[in-house]
């Protein structure tokens, strides 16, 4: 059974204080690992897809990295508008419709 564990559950940062979110996964045959951002009262919004260990993707203040067992979402010099819940998900090679297994998320709060 695929498992995705995110830590910490919640993180409070001061504006400009860089940090990282962790996503540990167990999956038989990883096809891809995905990061989503979810604002309160909204649906998740796609950020990145990572396919293989060593891969990195960047978008503004966010950088996602992948190893064989975990992924990190690095947030450099965050701003209050980066406050959101960040979700990690994995996709396996087998199975139809390429279902995703989601973690429970890290709720990030960036204080001004």
């Amino acid at each position: 059974e695929d498992q995705v564990t995110q830590s910490p559950e919640a993180l409070r940062l001061q504006e400009g204080e860089s940090s990282s979110l962790n996503c540990s996964y167990t999956v038989s045959g990883l096809r891809g690992l995905f990061w989503y951002r979810q604002d309160p009262g909204k649906g998740p919004e796609f950020l990145f897809t990572l396919y293989s260990a060593g891969e990195e993707k960047e978008k503004e203040r966010l950088k996602a990295t992948l190893t064989k067992k975990e992924s990190f979402l690095h947030i450099t010099a965050p701003k209050p508008e980066d406050s959101a819940t960040y979700l990690c998900a994995v996709q396996r090679f087998s199975g139809s419709a390429r279902q995703l297994t989601f973690g429970s998320g890290t709720q990030l709060t960036v204080l001004p």
């Binding site: 096809r31 891809g32 995905f34 649906g43 979700l87 390429r98 995703l100 429970s104």
Partner: protein, 115 residues
């Protein structure tokens, strides 16, 4: 471009009542999904569809039924609501050609409370 639209956004039911959640997408996507999101448990897949007229069970299908009579619509039904079905429900869609990228487009959610 509306994307994925869910109706209703909020609903309160009594135990045993039935209801249907409607999801409509205007992106001509093949794949559609229904998830539920509960505190501390992440998004869990209820049912999904790989095309018009097809449906399949996900991780937590019990107590729910779905139909995809038209490509753009995916309906989630609760025949006899239970308090355990109190949750936020999200519909998502994906183009068949992006099967390996995993990019799902989500609606804004439907918050259901069962008393």
């Amino acid at each position: 471009n509306a994307g994925v639209t869910q109706t209703p956004k909020f609903r309160v039911l009594k135990t045993g009542q039935s209801m249907t959640l409607l999801c409509a997408q205007d992106m001509n996507h093949e794949y559609m999904y229904w998830y539920r999101q509960d505190p501390g448990m992440g998004l869990r897949l209820i049912h999904y569809s790989v095309g018009e007229g097809t449906t399949a069970k996900g991780e937590v299908p019990d107590g729910y039924n779905v139909s995809r009579l038209k490509k753009q619509n995916f309906l989630l039904g609760l025949e006899s609501a239970a308090p355990s079905q109190t949750s936020v429900y999200f519909c998502a869609s994906k183009a068949a050609g992006t099967a390996i990228t995993g990019e799902l487009f989500f609606g804004e959610g439907s918050r259901l409370t069962v008393l």
